[in-house]
Amino acid sequence: MQDEYNIVQMNNISKRFGGVKALTDVSLNVKKGEIHALIGENGAGKSTLMKILAGAYKRDEGEIIIDGNEAKSTSPKKMIDMGVSVIYQEFMLASDLTVAENIFIDNMAESGVFVNWKELKRKAKTQLERLGFGHINPEDTVGDLSVAYQQIVEICKCLARNSKVLVFDEPTAVLTFSETEKLLSIIRQLKAEGVSIIYISHRLEELFEICDSITVLKDGGYVDTVATSKINKDQLVSMMVGRDIEQLFPERNAEIGEEILRVENLSTSDMVKEVNFSVRKGEVVGFSGLVGAGRTETMRAIFGADKKSSGKVIYFGEEVNFKSPKDAIRNKFGLVPEDRKKQGLLLEQSIRMNTTLSAMKKVKKLDIINHKKEKAYAKELLASVSTKYGSLEDNANSLSGGNQQKIALAKWLAADCDFIVFDEPTRGVDVGAKTEIYKVINRLAEEGVGVIVIASEMPEIIGLCDRAIVMRHGSVVGEVPKEDLNEDNLIKLAMGV
C-alpha cells in the first residue's frame, strides 16, 4: 500500500505558448521513494513539464498534487515550500559565494537578521558528509569547484530545504565517467532515504541502471509509463521516436584517400603533451577519452584558438601554423565548438544572421550585404542539414537544442572546409536530430572532407568513426581500429587500466 502512494501527481496538464501547444493532456505520477525517468526527444515537452512542476511556468489546465496537497496556484517559492526542487542543467549557484552560503542561500539567517557563520558552516558540513563529500570545504568559493562538485553543492542545497521530490535535468551530461558513477550512487542513496527522484536523461544506459519506472513523452503528448524491468532499450527508443535503434547511425560510403592532416609532438603550455596523430581524406576519426583529457585543447591549439608551445602541424603536405581561427578558416580548416550556447551561436540574433556569419563574404560586395542573396543562401544551407524553423528572422534561441546545433553545422558548411573538427556534435540533442547530424558528417566524409569527431558517448565513436584515438591526461594513449572498436577497449584506454 505504501508503495502505491503517489507523492507527485500531475494530471492532464496542458500548456500553450501563444499559438503553440507545448503540452497536451500530459500526466505524470511519481511514487514515493522511486526513481522515475522522464524521457522523450528534445521538444517532447520534458523541460516544460518540469518547469511547470517547479512553478517557473503556470499551467493552462490540469492539476498538480504534491504529497496529498493540491497546488492550486504555483510559483517557484511555493513549489519549493511544498517540497519540490529542480536541479537544472545550468546550475543556479552564486559562483562568488562559498559552498556554505550557497547551500543555505534561501535561509542564511535562520532566526532573525544575523547569520551565524559557525553554525552555517557546521550545517553545510553535515549536508556534505551525508552525501559522502565531507572533504569539500564549506568555505571554498563555489566558482572554484569542479562541475561535479558544484553539482554536489546544488544537491545539498535541495536537501537542506527538506525536499521530498528532486528533479535532475540531464545531470550527467557534464560529468566524466567516474563522476557519473558517483552521482548515480548518490541518487540511489537518496532513494533509500525516501526522497523521490524525477530523472531526465538522454543516456538510456543510466535509466536502465537506476530507474524504477519510465514515463515517455512525445511531441508534447503523453505516450506511456512503464516499469523499467518490463522494457528494453530498443522498445524504449521506438516509443520515443517510432523508429529502430539500428537506424541511428546511417551508412557511409566514403573513399579514404591520402593523408591530409598530420600532427607531430603538439604541446600547449598547460594541457596538451606531445600529441601525434594523422587523418586521411574522407576519414572520420573519433577522439575518445574522459572529460578533461585534453581533446578539445588539442583541437583548439591546431585551430589557432589557443597557443601551441611546440610541435608541428602538416596540412595538405605543408607545415602550417594557424595564428587565429580566422587564419585556420582561410585555409579551410573548421572547428564546430562543443558549447553551442557559449561558443557557437548568437542566441539573441536571427537564424539568418547566425547561418551566414562565417560566410558573410559570399553574400556581400564591398562590405554591403545583399539581403536577398543572403536569405536564399541561408535557406539552402539550413535545408541541407534539414533544420526545422519557423522564419529566418526568428531568434536562434527559439529553436530546440537539435535545431540550434544544425544551425551551427550549417554555418560551418558555408565555410567550405576541407577539414572539420566536431567537438561533441550531439550533446544535448535528441535521437532524431542525432541521426541527421551523423548524416551530415557522413556526407562531408563522402565529399572527401577530413573529419575529427570528439565524443564522450562511446556508442557515438563506435557507430560513427573509422577509427578512434584515445587521450588521457593530455596525451594520446592509444589508437583503436574500426574492427576493435567497442566500449571495453575505449574505457580501458581512457581510464588507463
Partner: protein
C-alpha cells in the same frame, strides 16, 4: 476572429514600435500644449539644437551594440568645439578644413579609448571615463578656460538659413547613412554579432577587436562633429560644451530600445530617442518650466520607456 486578429496586431505594433509611438504622442501633446510648437521657427530650432545630440547618440549606439559604453563623448564634443574655433580664430584656417581637423582629433580620442578597450582589455566604462577627463582637460588647457569667440561669416555658415541649414541637411544625411550602414554592411552586422557573443564570432573566424575599436573611433568622430555644430550655433568654442551629453546619448539609445548588454539596438530608434529627449526639453521651455523640474520629468520618461520595453520582451518570451 478577424477582429481579434486585428486587435492583436495593433497591440503588437504598439509594443514593437513603442519608441515611435512615444514620439508621435509627444508631438501631439506638444502641439496641444503650445501654439508656438508647430511654427517653422520652432521646428527649425529643434532641428538645429538636436543635430548634435542625435550624432552623439548614433555613435554611442554602435559602442553600446558591442556591449561597451563611451562616457567620453561629452568631453570630446568640447574638444571638437574648441579645436575648430581655435583653428579658425587663431590660425585663420577656413572653416571647412577646420571642421575636418576637429573631427580627426575626435577620431584620435575615440581610437585611444577603443585601443584601451579592445587591445588592453580595459572595460569600456573605465577606459572612456579616463578619456572623458583627459578630453575635457585638453579642451580647457587649449582655450585656457576662456571661450573662443568666432567672427561672423566663418563657422556660422553651416547654420545659415540662406544655405538651407547645412547642419540639418548633414545630420539628415548621416542618419540615413548610418541606418543603411547598420542594416546593409558587414561591419554593422559584425558589430551586433560581437555584442551578442564575441567568443562565437571569434571562433567563426572573425577578428573581433578591430570591430570593437572602430565603434569607439566612430563615436569619437561623431562627438567631435557634434561639438563643431554646437560651436557653429553659438559662434563660440567653449570647453564646457557637451557636459552631461554622454548621459543623454545613453538615454536616447535606451529609449530607442537598445540593450546595454549589447547586440540589440537600432540607429533610427536611437535618433528618435534623442528627439524625444529634445522635444521634452523644447515643450517645457515653451511652457516656461524651469530647468530643474525638467530633469525630473525627463528621468521619469526614461523609466517609462524602459518599462515599456520590459513588457515587450516578456511578451516575446512566452511565444
Amino acid at each position: 476572429m478577424t477582429s481579434e486578429q486585428k486587435g492583436f496586431d495593433l497591440k503588437h505594433f504598439l509594443i514593437n514600435y513603442n519608441t515611435y509611438f512615444i514620439f508621435v504622442l509627444l508631438i501631439i501633446i506638444s502641439g496641444m500644449l503650445s501654439d508656438y510648437f508647430f511654427t517653422t521657427m520652432n521646428l527649425t530650432n529643434i532641428a538645429l539644437q538636436q543635430a548634435a545630440p542625435i550624432l552623439v547618440a548614433i555613435g554611442m549606439l554602435f559602442v553600446i551594440l558591442t556591449g561597451g559604453i563611451d562616457l567620453s563623448v561629452g568631453s570630446v564634443m568640447a574638444v571638437g568645439a574648441t579645436v575648430s574655433a581655435m583653428l579658425i580664430t587663431d590660425l585663420g584656417i577656413n572653416y571647412i578644413p577646420a571642421m575636418i581637423l576637429a573631427v580627426i582629433v575626435g577620431l584620435l580620442f575615440g581610437m585611444f579609448t577603443g585601443i584601451l578597450v579592445a587591445y588592453a582589455g580595459i572595460q569600456g566604462f573605465v577606459a572612456s571615463l579616463a578619456t572623458m577627463t583627459i578630453a575635457r582637460g585638453f579642451a580647457f588647457v587649449l582655450t585656457m578656460g576662456t571661450p573662443v569667440k568666432m567672427e561672423q561669416g566663418t563657422l556660422d555658415n553651416i547654420v545659415d538659413r540662406d544655405n538651407f541649414f547645412p547642419i540639418i541637411l548633414a545630420t539628415a544625411a548621416l542618419i540615413v547613412l548610418f541606418i543603411l550602414v547598420q542594416r546593409y554592411t558587414g561591419w554593422g552586422r559584425t558589430v551586433i554579432a560581437v555584442g551578442s557573443n564575441a567568443t562565437a564570432v571569434q571562433l567563426a573566424g572573425i577578428k573581433t577587436k578591430r570591430f570593437v575599436m572602430s565603434t569607439y573611433a566612430l563615436s569619437g568622430s561623431l562627438a567631435a562633429l557634434a561639438g563643431v555644430f554646437v560651436a557653429a550655433r553659438t559662434s563660440t568654442g567653449s570647453a564646457t560644451v557637451g557636459q552631461m551629453q554622454e548621459l543623454d546619448a545613453i538615454a536616447a539609445c535606451v529609449i530607442g530600445g537598445a540593450s546595454l548588454a549589447g547586440g540589440k539596438g537600432f540607429v533610427a530608434r536611437a535618433v528618435i530617442g534623442a528627439l524625444v529627449l529634445g522635444l521634452i526639453g523644447n515643450v517645457m521651455n515653451l511652457m516656461s518650466v524651469p530647468s530643474y523640474p525638467q530633469d525630473i520629468i525627463k528621468g521619469f520618461i526614461i523609466i517609462a520607456a524602459v518599462l515599456l520595453q520590459i513588457v515587450t520582451s516578456k511578451k516575446e518570451k512566452t511565444v
